[in-house]
């Protein structure tokens, strides 16, 4: 009973965050869905071994490792590689937040694409740090623990991510 409740609470609290992280890392909706499912199934299977108070860190570390594995597999099998254009189309097809104004819809859709691509284009390591900070709301120290890197490197990487995004989105305004 306790296990079920705790598990469902964890799923409810973290499913969006895990999905977002996988979505931007893998740049593919279907892969992000699969990743989220697999990670939460793994959480269920390893529930007894995991320290529940550190479940958030466990989820983030597992999601990160899972995404890195997928990216490496893609690099080996180039035919499965998802190109940037596909990511654009996927994002453009999202029906969320559509209003009756077609011009506004087009602008919003374009902006979403631009932001998704700007985040998606960040180098892997920089993107990981940026997403952990922005998506998960993790602190620099927590990110340093999960990614096994010095805290100062996390800060510098975060700054680089912001600068790069600033550059990417400068011409969209």
């Amino acid at each position: 009973m306790f296990r079920k409740t705790t598990y469902q609470t964890l799923v409810f609290a973290h499913k969006d965050k895990v999905y977002r992280y996988a979505y931007y890392m893998l740049r593919d909706e279907m892969d992000a869905e699969d990743a989220t499912q697999d990670i939460f199934v793994k959480l269920w299977q390893k529930f007894e071994e995991i320290n529940i108070t550190k479940a958030k860190s466990w989820l983030m570390r597992t999601t990160h490792n899972y995404c890195i594995d997928i990216i490496r597999k893609r690099q080996r099998t180039t035919d499965k590689h998802v190109v940037l254009e596909d990511f654009n189309q996927n994002s453009a097809q999202e029906a969320e937040g559509l209003s009756n104004d077609p011009v506004r819809n087009a602008q919003n859709s374009h902006l979403k694409e631009v932001i998704d691509n700007a985040v998606g284009k960040l180098p892997e390591k920089i993107k990981s740090v940026f997403l952990m900070y922005e998506v998960q709301g993790m602190k620099y120290r927590e990110i340093a623990d999960v990614l096994d890197m010095p805290i100062n490197s996390v800060k510098v990487t975060m700054l680089r991510a912001r600068k790069q995004l600033q550059e990417e989105l400068r011409y969209e305004r």
């Binding site: 999905y19 869905e33 989105l169």
Partner: protein, 175 residues
């Protein structure tokens, strides 16, 4: 003597750029916020950079927050639930039995304690009464000291929560 290289007016120093980004994303220190606030009032360049960085931060965060896990995933994960144990399941009977025995044992000990403990002797000497009064006063003084410490900590916390944080947030809004 070598001339000092002139700073280009259209380029921000790396430190200032870092401060502006930190302010825009809302995780700058109070000191950085004050510096950026002061400089942005005098420099159009800094003000523009700050506005742009804020807009980027806002757009990015808004877009990231829009990405949500599809319901299909939640539905799929619904199946990972422990089956509810029925009342007749032996595990439940063991729990009920253990609980009942525990409560009965506790009740028995409480009754025996009341029955067998001898009533206290009320014939106390004057010295004993004075000693007991003194000890009680000391205990109360100790509790008072503790309460004062706690009150002091609480007021410090209140200063942080109701003064420092709102001030910080107000400054955030200005930036």
């Amino acid at each position: 003597m070598k001339d000092k290289p002139k700073r280009r007016p259209d380029i921000l120093s790396p430190v200032m750029e870092e401060r502006i980004l930190a302010v825009a994303y809302g995780d700058a220190s109070l000191w950085d916020k004050l510096i950026v606030f002061q400089v942005s009032r005098r420099s159009v360049k800094v003000q523009k950079a700050l506005d742009q960085a804020r807009e980027t931060a806002r757009l990015t965060r808004t877009r990231i927050a829009e990405v949500r896990c599809p319901d299909t995933v939640s539905t799929y994960l619904e199946r990972y639930r422990e089956p509810e144990a029925p009342l007749m399941f032996p595990g439940n009977w063991i729990r009920v039995f253990t609980g009942t025995v525990g409560v009965m044992a506790a009740a028995t000990i409480a009754v025996m304690f009341n029955v067998f403990v001898e009533p206290a002797d009320d014939n106390l000497t004057q010295e004993q009464i004075e000693l007991a009064t003194l000890e009680a006063k000391q205990s109360l003084a100790l509790i008072q000291q503790l309460m004062q410490d706690v009150a002091g900590d609480a007021s410090k916390q209140a200063i942080v929560d109701y003064t420092a944080k709102p001030l910080n947030e107000t400054l955030d809004e200005y930036f």
